[in-house]
Structure formats: C-alpha cells, structure tokens
C-alpha cells in the first residue's frame, strides 16, 4: 500500500499535482523549519516530522488547509496543495528515519508526575507502549520537548481544536504536569 502513492504520483501526478520529483522539493521546504533525519528542527517549538506516522501527518496538512488546525505559517504552506500532494509529502516524511535525539529526561519528581498523568489518561491505549503511535495517532517518543509542551498547553487552553478529545483530556491537567510529561516523553 505504501508503494501506491509513488506509483500514483509517477503515473497520475501531472497537471499541477505533485510528481515524484516535486515531493522531494516540497520536502526541502519542510526541512527548513522541521529539520530532517540528521538535524533537529530550528526552533524548540517546532515538531520533528521525519519518521512521524503517515496518516497523522496527512490529517494535519488537511486540517491546516481546512482551517480546523490554526497556524499561520502552515496554512500558508498548504494553501492550494491538493490531497495527492499532501499524501505524498506525508508519505515521504513518514518513511524517513526519526533523528537521533538526546533530550534530557525528566527529574524524579517530573517522572512521578508524568506517570500519574499517563495512568489517569490511559495514554498508552492510543499512543501505544513506548509512545510510538500508529497511523492516525502520532509518535510522541523523543519528540521535541518544547513542541510537546506547547501542543499540550494548546489543547488545554483550546487553542488547538482539531483533536477535540485531547482538549477534553488536558482541560484539568496542571501546567506543571504538562511540563513534566513533555520532558518524560522527549527523554524516553
């Protein structure tokens, strides 16, 4: 199934849709901020996308395009991008290795806080053991701690609304717990 997109792009991808070549060119646009398999994103609040789950990436691009997820930069980038291109870009990044990271782990107190939140929210039921994610559920393991913290705060304060149940889950999670969880997940 994964090969399908490559074939599709090679055969059908004409007339404005992405071609196999332009996918890599588009990917360079992403690299400027998100880094790649060899380098981390330029800003601690930007997510690693190399090695992220395909369907999760595609849905985010789709949601940026529809306005369901708000981000000025990303909405500008996806403007005019068709479904096939979004899928091709998502496919490309999902097939790249996750970069090597060395984020410091949580303190002992943070670990305790994080594990309490994880148990309470039953997080592994969706993000799975090791927090590698699957398909529409994103990998959190070794993600940038700054990004993880920002996104969980966005959920808590209803700034990110394209995953309503994450917003509900974080509504009453303390900010200190969110910081602890971000450090925990980044340092796994």
């Amino acid at each position: 199934m994964r090969k399908w997109f490559v074939v599709f792009l090679a055969v059908v991808g004409t007339g404005g849709a992405a071609t196999a070549g332009t996918v890599e060119e588009l990917a360079q646009t992403c690299t400027a901020c998100h880094g790649d398999s060899r380098q981390l994103p330029t800003d601690p609040a930007f997510p690693i996308i190399a090695g992220q789950q395909f369907y999760y990436l595609y849905v985010q691009l789709r949601d940026f395009a529809s306005g369901l997820r708000q981000n000025e930069i990303m909405q500008g980038i996806v403007a005019g991008m068709d479904k096939a291109t979004m899928q091709a870009v998502a496919q490309y990044w999902s097939e790249q290795p996750w970069p090597t990271t060395a984020f410091p782990g949580p303190t002992a107190e943070e670990r305790e806080r994080a594990e309490r939140v994880i148990a309470s929210g039953q997080c592994s039921a969706c993000h799975l053991g090791g927090f590698e994610g699957n398909s529409r559920v994103p990998r959190l393991r070794n993600q940038q701690p700054g990004y993880l913290e920002k996104i969980m705060l966005d959920f808590k304060f209803k700034r990110r609304m394209n995953a309503p149940d994450m917003s509900a889950l974080f509504t009453d999670v303390a900010e200190a717990d969110i910081t602890a969880l971000a450090h925990y997940l980044a340092g796994l």
Partner: protein, 578 residues
C-alpha cells in the same frame, strides 16, 4: 453422548453433569476420552463446529463452542493433579505487543494471532511454526484501545481473520496463503476489526469496532467461499426506531437521571432544521463474537456504546440498539429481539463481553434456554433466549458508588469506572455447578463531558474518562450462580482483570493477570491450586486441547495496551509433568 447430534448448549450441560459426578465422587482418573469422531480432522466440517462443546481434542471456536461456554470437556488435568502442570513449549511471536488471542486448535494444529494481524500456525504438540501470515496493513487504521486481535475462525480448510484496517481475510489453513480479502468498513471513518469472526455453514459473520469514532455499527455476513457480502444488520436503527421508548431507568429500576423533556426538545429542533441524521454516527460497535443457537438459527451478540460516549446532548432517545443484547436470524440478519441495559448511555458502561447460551432457571424455577452476559455495570445478567427478556441479575461484582451521576465538565466520580465491571473479557461457565466466572475491574474514574461536533473519524468521546490516580485499583474473579444471581465465591487480584477465563471438566478455572501470573482455581471454591509466572501480562483467554492423549492448556502472554500491562510475545502451552 458421542454421535448424538444435539445443540451446543445442551451438550455442554450434559458433559458438565458427567464432570460434576466425577468431581463430587473424588474420581481423579485421567480421561481424554472426549474425542472428535467426525470429519477428516484437518478439514473443519459444520458438523464438527456444531459438536464442538463435546470435542475434547480440538478448540474450534474462540469461546470453544457456538454457545460460547468456554467450558472444555476433558478432565485429564484436574483439581488433584494441576499442581504438576509444567510448560510443554513456548513460542515467541514476531510482535511484542498487546495480546488478546484465544488460540484455536484443529487436530494438533494451533492458530494464533498477534497485534497488528499476524497469524501463526503452530504444531500444538511442540510449538514449532508451520506458517506465518503477516497482513499487509493499509496506511489508515483507526482503532481503540490497542492494536488487538482476538483470534481466528476456522471452517473447511480455511482460517478467517478480521483486521485493524477493517478487512476480513480468508487464508488457506495448510499454507497460510491469502485466499480472499473483503472490505468490512472504511477505516478512515473509524471502522476496525479486533474480534474473531464466527462461521456458520456458508457464512462468515463479523461485527465492527468504532463506537469511539462516530461509526454506524453493524454485524455483517460474508460468503465463506468468496467474501461476497450476504447481509448487514445495523446496530443503529434507521427511521425513529433508535429513539426507543424513552426509558428513564436502568434494569433495576434506578433513575438514569435523563432529562427526557430536554432530549425531546432537542430532537424537535434537529428535525425542524433537517439535521436529525445523527443516527448515522451513533456508534454501536460489536466488540466480540456472537453466540449461535443452531436449533433456532439465531445469533446473539451485545452492542457497545453510543457515539459520542460521554455527551448525550445531540443524540436524543434511547439510542437503540446500543448497550443491548440483540438476537438476529443467521440466515437473513433480520432482527428477532433485544434487551437494552442502559438507554441513552453517557458513561460508556456498554455491553462488550460475549454472551453465553446455557440452560438456566427462569423466575419460576423452570429450566429454559437462557443467555448470560457479564456486564461493565457490574452484574451477570440472565435472559430468556426466546425473547431476550431479563430473568435476573447477579449481586454486584465490584463496588458501585454515585451510580448514574451525570458527567460534568469538571468530572464526576462514579463507580464502576468506564472499563467495568467486566470489559471485553469472555466469561466461562461450569454447567454442572451452574456457575458463571467473570473477570472484573475495580478502577475508580471521573467522567468528564465536553460537547464537540463530529470530528470526521477522529476520536470522539465527547469528553474524557480519567482514572483517579490516588485511588486503589484491583480486580477479581467472581463465580456467580446464574440460577440465583448469588455470588458463590470471589477472589481478589492485585490488578484490574482483563483477558477472559477458561473452565474445564477437571473442576478448574484458568485466568491470567496483568502482573504475569497465570493461575488455576478450584471451580467450586475459588482456591488457587496452581500458578506460573509468565513474565508479561497474561491478558488473553486460555484454551485447552488434547494431542496424542495429552491434555494441554495454552495461553498468550503479551500484556495489554488498554491497561498498560507489560508487553510480551509468548504463547505458552502447559501439560502435566511426566
């Protein structure tokens, strides 16, 4: 008894009666006499499937037989010698992840599945691999709660499995090669398969997951020969039938705190605006394999929660047939009867554990064909099979507090938590003892509501369930006399229980725990007679079978994603030490 063609649940009762005599008279002679005297062994005939309850060689159905008793009729391994049980072999799968499979055994060949839809055929005597099938998973999967699979169905020379990307696959039982693949639902909209299908004659029957994603649930029948869709029963009625009778109470007559006037007002508003099509996203997944009664040619299954789980504000009415026991025709999929446990559920205390057909006493003490269901609520419910009506319910198996307090934005504490009671874990029964064995969770939670519009296939709980981290959690195994509803015995476990049970004519009940212990209990008293540490969560139901005169007990130890029990990848078979 051999050679008599009678229905599964009658056979189970008959075998149990023999077993009870043996138990009560202290007889401990080894016996593996319940054999498969029909068919050419490797090819699973409909006759074999019908007689599975009396088949002590094979384990042909996920719940052993069509009645789903999980009662294995041999007693070579019994209360007097179970302390001699030792591992015979260990097979390690390629997938170290959550494991909920019920191993199926056909004439010395075992079929097991793993997370992410691998299937292995193993030599049941040695554990040696015969073949390995790895499903080519599509890029889009949407599932709750873990990449689980609960096993295969076998019939003819084929093995059938549902997949996380909502396919049904038929494999050649001898080679593991794909014969056909059919689409059951659209994974992008939240459909997925974790249950084992059931085969009846020329039909493979399967339900769907997706009640957490705004699906419209169903049970479908496919042609066993080529995967063609034969019929569909939707668990959410169209028209106005899903509205039900606006019932305000639970089965015990306690108020559910519904605001019927507000619901009706909302319905009128939706109708006026032409937006009363909410039933198309009303959930109603079917998580577990249906039971089948060959005498009446009817299927029995239970239906899961409405979508969104915690927010009832935009789904007025009883939301039929969510949270219900339902019976339909196996030939046509036509509705026959139902019983709804919780109309307009806003707690996800839905019906998931597979129903069991058994002879039970009605309210007048007369023996009737019955249906048992272990519920999240947390009771064992006993129904008449003919009209689905409720005969009785058991004493509660775990604490109940603040029942039917409505979810709030800040969170409402209520017991049981949303996992039960009894989760998807299959119960077992001992027909001779008239006991049903249920694996329970005690997991205090708060219920939070937050109304959000349909998110198009994304998780849609309408709020959150949160385990209260400061409160103690535990589990238990409860033996319920299904003719009286009284609890006969109860054994507390260190952790909430999930996985299911096996009862045997040897007077034993087998159950695993999240901490890696796999235990044998005395079926009559609950005494722990044997235990073995498997090193990872034992959260799958055990099976039993006999090869060359030796009885085996087999179980998977792969942990559990939902309760985050330690993952592993072992299938372990036990037999008596020489």
């Amino acid at each position: 008894m051999r050679g008599k063609h009678v229905s599964g649940y009658r056979l189970a009762g008959g075998v149990a009666a023999v077993a009870l005599v043996a138990l009560t008279s202290g007889v401990a002679a080894q016996e593996t006499g319940k054999t498969t005297l029909y068919g050419d062994l490797r090819v699973v005939t409909q006759d074999m499937l019908l007689r599975a309850a009396d088949d002590g060689n094979n384990f042909l159905h996920p719940q052993h037989n069509y009645a789903q008793t999980r009662f294995y009729p041999n007693r070579q391994i019994n209360t007097t010698n179970v302390h001699q049980l030792r591992p015979a072999w260990i097979f390690q799968t390629e997938v170290v992840d959550t494991m909920e499979v019920a191993p199926i055994v056909v004439d010395g060949v075992m079929y097991v599945t793993t997370a992410f839809n691998h299937v292995y055929a193993l030599d049941a005597e040695t554990g040696a691999q015969i073949w390995h099938y790895k499903h080519r998973m599509g890029p889009i999967t949407t599932y709750c709660c873990g990449p689980n699979n609960r096993g295969v169905a076998v019939a003819g020379d084929r093995v059938y499995m549902g997949t996380l990307d909502a396919k049904l696959v038929a494999l050649d039982a001898k080679t593991g090669k794909l014969v056909w693949e059919a689409e059951v639902g659209d994974p992008e909209l939240g459909y997925s398969e974790t249950m084992a299908p059931i085969v009846v004659e020329d039909k493979v029957i399967i339900g769907t997951n997706g009640g957490e994603y705004g699906i419209r649930g169903f049970v479908k029948a496919f042609s066993a020969a080529d995967g063609k869709l034969l019929w569909t029963f939707y668990t959410i009625s169209d028209g106005d039938r899903h509205l039900g009778t606006w019932r305000e109470t639970d089965p015990m007559g306690r108020s559910l705190n519904r605001d019927i006037a507000a619901e009706k007002k909302r319905l009128a508003e939706m109708k006026a605006a032409g937006k009363d099509d909410f039933w198309q996203r009303l959930g109603g997944g079917v998580w577990q394999t249906p039971a089948y009664d060959p005498e009446t040619r009817r299927l029995y299954f239970v239906v899961g929660n409405p979508s969104p789980d915690l927010d009832g504000s935009n789904r007025p009415g009883d939301n039929l047939y969510t949270d219900s026991l339902v019976s339909i025709s196996v030939d046509t999929g036509e509705y026959v009867c139902h019983y709804q446990y919780i109309p307009h559920d806003v707690w996800d205390l839905d019906a998931v554990s597979p129903p069991i057909l058994a002879t039970v006493k009605d309210k007048d003490g007369k023996e009737v064909k019955g249906v048992l269901h272990g519920s999240k609520l947390p009771y064992v419910f006993v129904h008449r099979a003919d009209d689905c009506s409720l005969i009785r319910w058991s004493e509660p198996m775990v604490p109940i507090e603040n029942l039917w307090a409505l979810p709030t934005p800040a969170g409402t504490r209520m017991l049981p938590g949303a996992n039960g009671g009894v989760e998807w874990s299959a119960m077992a029964i001992h027909p001779g003892l008239h006991l049903a064995y249920a694996a329970n969770l005690h997991q205090p939670m708060t219920y939070h509501v937050e109304s959000t519009p349909y998110p198009g296939g994304k998780l849609w709980l309408g709020g959150a369930f949160k385990v209260i981290p400061t409160e103690e959690q535990w589990g238990n195994i409860t033996a319920v006399d299904y003719d009286t509803g009284k609890i006969r015995w109860q054994v507390r476990t260190q952790q909430p229980m999930i996985g299911g049970l096996l009862a045997t004519a040897g007077g034993l009940v087998f159950a695993g725990e999240g901490n890696g212990w796999f235990k044998a209990y005395d079926a009559a008293t609950g005494a722990v007679l044997w235990q073995f540490q498997l090193g990872a969560g034992v959260n799958a139901p055990a099976s039993s079978y006999t090869v060359k005169g030796k009885q085996y007990i087999v179980v998977g130890a792969g942990g559990n994603a939902q309760l985050d029990y330690k993952r592993g990848n072992d299938i372990v078979a036990f037999t008596l030490a020489d």
